[in-house]
């Protein structure tokens, strides 16, 4: 310990203190501060670049997603349009069919009605014809009867047979 204390040089201590203070001051001012600032700037720059790249990637992904969405929407729209067109087509066909059906039915109904009325008029004509015929027969019967009773009956019966044939 005595030897150590003897070795301790106060002068060297003072000189070293001054030199170290000077060295720290100079190094901080001319070396460490600019170096650390540059390093920090560089690190921040790298970080910023990485962040920007990450952001760009995200944006790209968003864009891609948007595109996909648009594509999907377009596809869906096309599908919908196609479907609508198909429905429209079917509906038109159906409509046309029903209309044709109703028209046909109407025509059939009209035709039937016309046939019915023709038939009625024919029947009416026939009836009037029959009545006039029967009156004629009756006139002839009455005339015959007036002459011969048997012959009158014969005549009525032949007349009726004729009438039946009609």
């Amino acid at each position: 310990m005595d030897k150590l204390l003897n070795d301790f040089s106060p002068g060297l201590f003072v000189v070293q203190t001054i030199l170290l203070l000077l060295l720290i001051f100079l190094m901080v001012k001319f070396a460490w501060k600019p170096i650390l600032n540059s390093l920090n700037e560089r690190e921040e720059g790298i970080q910023d670049a990485l962040d920007a790249a990450e952001k760009a990637k995200l944006e790209m992904q968003n864009l891609q997603a948007d595109n996909d969405k648009l594509l999907k929407e377009a596809r869906a729209e096309r599908e919908a349009m196609l479907k609508e067109a198909r429905e429209l087509k079917n509906k038109m066909i159906d409509d046309a069919k029903t209309e044709a059906q109703t028209q046909a039915n109407n025509m059939i109904a009209q035709a039937q009605a016309a046939i019915e009325s023709e038939k009625k008029s024919a029947m009416a004509e026939l009836k009037s014809h029959v009545s006039s015929l029967s009156i004629e027969i009756a006139e002839k019967v009455v005339r015959q009867e007036l002459s011969n009773k048997d012959k009158q009956f014969e005549l009525v019966e032949s007349m009726l047979g004729d009438a039946k044939l009609n």
């Binding site: 150590l4 003897n6 070795d7 301790f8 040089s9 106060p10 002068g11 060297l12 201590f13 003072v14 000189v15 070293q16 203190t17 030199l19 170290l20 000077l22 060295l23 720290i24 100079l26 190094m27 901080v28 001319f30 070396a31 460490w32 501060k33 600019p34 170096i35 650390l36 540059s38 390093l39 560089r42 720059g45």
Partner: protein, 381 residues
């Protein structure tokens, strides 16, 4: 390098006047030589040789001596001592007589013309002066300071032009990043580390490069000087004491969560720890490791002479070479390790001083140990 250092040391004689023959063969001479080497010296000595006329020649250059004497500041060149280190040569300057004993400059008392020694080899009629000389250590500090300044200011300039340094800057940048990211940031914390990084980096590179310089044959032993390590440790002490926040002082002076009666005792212990033990451990660790490294390397080199008789020239030399080679490799690691430990502990102490305590977290830590911690802490908060 190692071979060169071996040769240089083998041919360097001890500069003690008593040993002017220049040969170091015996164990005592080796011990003296080693102890002399780990001390600071007033001249830059490279090597010595004995010429044909049997005269001892020393090659190196003198350094200026600047001392504060009883007659004020006195300066002269160390060459005036003629490499004497035992108080034989007396230099007269400014009306005063000076001599150098074991690398320390003494001023002779008035009327004395030679140094008188007592039986412990202490000078009785001379006293030490305050020595501000540009010693070998100061040269080392200046050299490394200049080197660091040139290297790192050039690196700083490189960043102005481009983001990535070229050439030697590529070597320095990872080191700077290492100190910042592995020492300063984790120990001090993200919020405060920037304020202290400058100091930590300066200290780290200063110690590391000086440690490495100490392994060269130039024989610097700057970080093995108590004055230098003490200065470094006191800088750290001042920094963490000055930047200590309220929490830090509260934990030192009036430890929360501890019975009142124990607090003054704890405060004493904590104060001694913060103001004496921490810096003392820093200064002694660095000094002892580097000095011990130098002593071990030189002792192993000295095996060449001390074991020459028992192992023969070839045996002693090869044993010495192999051992000192491996120890030098380890010393290269120690040079880095000690710089790292000093800087890391400094950062840790600073980190403890500026730490912002998370009290909620502390509750969990201390709550189990001390039952009434909650109540005391509630008062504290």
């Amino acid at each position: 390098m190692l071979f060169a250092s071996t040769i240089a040391l083998a041919e360097t004689p001890v500069k003690d006047g008593a040993n002017d023959g220049g040969q170091i063969d015996t164990k005592t001479e080796v011990e003296e030589y080693i102890l002399h080497h780990i001390q600071d010296s007033h001249d830059f000595h490279l090597f010595s040789y004995t010429n044909d006329a049997g005269e001892r020649k020393h090659i190196g250059f003198p350094l200026p001596v600047i001392i504060w004497t009883s007659n004020g500041l006195t300066t002269f060149m160390s060459s005036e001592f003629h490499h004497d280190d035992s108080g034989q040569v007396i230099v007269e300057k400014n009306g005063l007589k000076f001599t150098k004993i074991h690398s320390k400059i003494y001023e002779l008392d008035a009327g004395a013309s030679t140094v008188a020694f007592d039986e412990d080899h202490h000078a009785t009629n001379a006293h030490k002066v305050l020595d501000f000389s540009i010693t070998k250590s100061v040269v080392g500090v200046l050299l490394i300071g200049l080197l660091m300044f040139v290297w790192f200011s050039r690196l700083a300039k490189q960043y102005k032009k481009k983001a990535i340094p070229t050439g030697f800057g590529r070597v320095l940048e990872p080191l700077v990043l290492y100190v910042r990211d592995e020492i300063a940031r984790p120990n001090i914390g993200e919020k405060h580390y920037r304020r202290f990084t400058g100091y930590l980096m300066t200290v780290f590179f200063f110690i590391w490069i000086l440690n490495l310089l100490g392994l060269t044959p130039f024989g610097f032993n700057v970080t093995g000087q108590l004055a230098v390590t003490a200065c470094l440790a006191i800088f750290t002490l001042i920094i963490y004491t000055a930047s200590g926040n309220k929490d830090y002082w509260m934990h030192i002076l009036w430890m929360p969560g501890v019975p009142i009666l124990i607090r003054p005792v704890l405060a004493l212990i904590e104060l001694a720890g913060a103001l004496i033990i921490k810096p003392f451990s820093l200064l002694v660790r660095l000094f002892a490791n580097i000095s011990a490294g130098h002593i071990v390397v030189m002792s192993l080199i000295a095996i060449m002479f001390t074991l020459k008789k028992s192992l023969g020239v070839v045996g002693a030399t090869s044993l010495s070479l192999v051992l000192s080679f491996f120890i030098t490799l380890i010393e290269v690691l120690v040079a880095f390790l000690q710089a790292y430990i000093f800087t890391m502990l400094s950062a840790l102490f600073i980190g403890m001083a500026v730490a912002e305590h998370d009290h909620d977290h502390d509750h969990d830590d201390h709550g189990h140990e001390i039952p009434d911690a909650e109540d005391v802490r509630a008062d504290f908060i």
